[in-house]
Symmetry: C2
């Protein structure tokens, strides 16, 4: 096998009250990544034409280049890789764009070299890639992208990711075209939180876990409350609470910031509702004359998918 | 119906990483409470002979007296109650002794007046009773005592307690006879916690929830880690880490402080293991010449039980 073509999906990290622990994998949007063995022991990255093609192509600056170079070195490969990336996931959008590249490349190269790398190590290589953009790897994007479905990051070192059952729900997602990077968005969070607030948060984490596992929509609905991160990060997103209010008014189960933002997702019971809700969520951004991309997506239970 | 006799059970609050949110109901130990209608509109409390009979009998100072008086007033009853309490649960032990009285009396009186009080209101009366000892009602003892099984305190006001599924596990419990009251034990906790530590805690809360719901012993085992409360409160319990080490060495699934201490519980797979583990846990206290009570108990899925 000398060539692989795959779809590496967008993911929502920090799902509601589950800051740094809950990640979920989407069907839409996604990147298409082609990886080809080449005879020279190097990594060549090309960014194919797309609305989000403005990515670094030097391997050490690209979240896919880093794992590729590490694997070549760690496994003493006598060949290299040409990696062609067609981005479908907005950059700096809070939809796991850098993770999709990192996880897609680590996953794809592992296939190309005959699955020599354990799942835990593949995740580690992907986290190394993500490191260059976020500095503190949190794993909820990488885990969800690689494993699919709803992933609980129980621990990062050693890696302990747990796949939680979840029903066939839908997401309405809106990505306002405002610049926000992961590092700034982490810096504004406080270093400490009130114990009483942390208790409220983990009560919601427990009931949201039980809600997902038992597919109890009412329980999911009342548990999707984030006391800690949303009140702070929402300030960076123009029109956030208007968009949230409209999503809930139109029947969303819950609505929060995706990853470190600025994307906003609404969890919906079915495709029809997701369609209506995403349209409603666009209005406040139109009123503010802010450009955006919007998506609806089912849950991707599989994660990265091999096309060829 | 003029008289009711019931068993009001001990409970473990703050179960592992679930500080203030997870309570679990035990079969052993328990209080026996007899409530009798009397013609005078008053509350008379008698403490029957037991090793733990040293409880206040003035209604306003007794966690059962408070709900009894409130109910008489709120429901304009033209009669009163004589309440005879035979304590089987150690006082100030961290085993929900005051909650057992509060919940038992509220539950029993509701039966005596023809179940006029909703479950939520019965819980509220019990919480009012508990208030006089803890000042900040947390609900995990009251909820577990009244509802049985494993209870998640999602919210206190308005009351939202969720019963989580749990398998037929056992507890080995040891109550060192050292004085520790709930208020002191709450005061030594910090008002704030590091966000990074809170994240670790809610990762464990999520995986412990999934572990209990799916009865996955290995997952329960690795999730029973408390980063926030145990490191602080354990200092107040002589020999705590020796007892914990011995319990785990002897096959306990997990071992932590019960409620606000000083009782220590070990979660065990079956009765035989619980028997062996509780004996092993006694050794460090014997070595320190500290008196103790020890118990083994299955999970009480029902809660308060009417005897007559």
């Amino acid at each position: 096998m000398d060539r692989i073509l795959l779809k590496s999906p967008a993911t929502i990290a920090n799902l509601s009250c589950g800051y740094d622990i809950f990640g979920i994998c989407l069907e839409q949007p996604y990147d298409v990544i082609e990886i080809q063995k080449i005879s020279s022991k190097e990594v060549v990255i090309n960014s194919l034409d797309s609305p989000f093609s403005n990515i670094p192509t030097k391997p050490k600056e690209n979240t896919g280049g880093v794992p590729a170079e590490l694997i070549i070195s760690d496994y003493s490969l006598d060949f290299g890789f040409e990696i062609n990336i067609k981005k479908g996931i907005p950059l700096y959008g809070g939809l796991g764009s850098s993770s999709a590249t990192a996880a897609g490349v680590a996953f794809g190269i592992n296939k190309l070299i005959g699955k020599k790398i354990s799942q835990a190590d593949t995740l580690k290589y992907a986290l190394e890639g993500e490191n260059i953009t976020s500095q503190t790897p949190h794993g909820d994007n990488i885990g969800a992208c690689m494993l699919g479905g709803l992933v609980l990051v129980k621990n990062i070192d050693p890696i302990d990711f747990i796949k939680l059952p979840i029903g066939d729900l839908y997401f309405a997602i809106i990505h306002p075209d405002v610049k926000m990077d992961t590092q700034t968005s982490r810096k504004i969070l406080p270093k400490t939180v009130e114990l009483s607030l942390a208790v409220k948060q983990w009560a919601n984490v427990a009931s949201l876990t039980f809600g997902f596992v038992s597919n109890d929509i009412e329980l999911i609905k009342k548990s999707m409350v984030d006391h800690i991160v949303e009140p702070i990060r929402s300030k960076l997103i123009p029109g956030y609470y208007d968009i949230k209010r409209i999503a809930l008014k139109n029947g969303a189960i819950g609505c929060n910031i995706s990853g470190s933002g600025p994307s906003i997702y609404a969890l919906c019971e079915n495709k029809k509702k997701a369609n209506n809700i995403v349209k409603a969520m666009e209005a406040p951004l139109n009123a503010l004359s802010i450009n955006f991309h919007s998506y609806i997506s089912s849950i991707n239970h599989q994660g990265i998918k091999v096309i060829q």
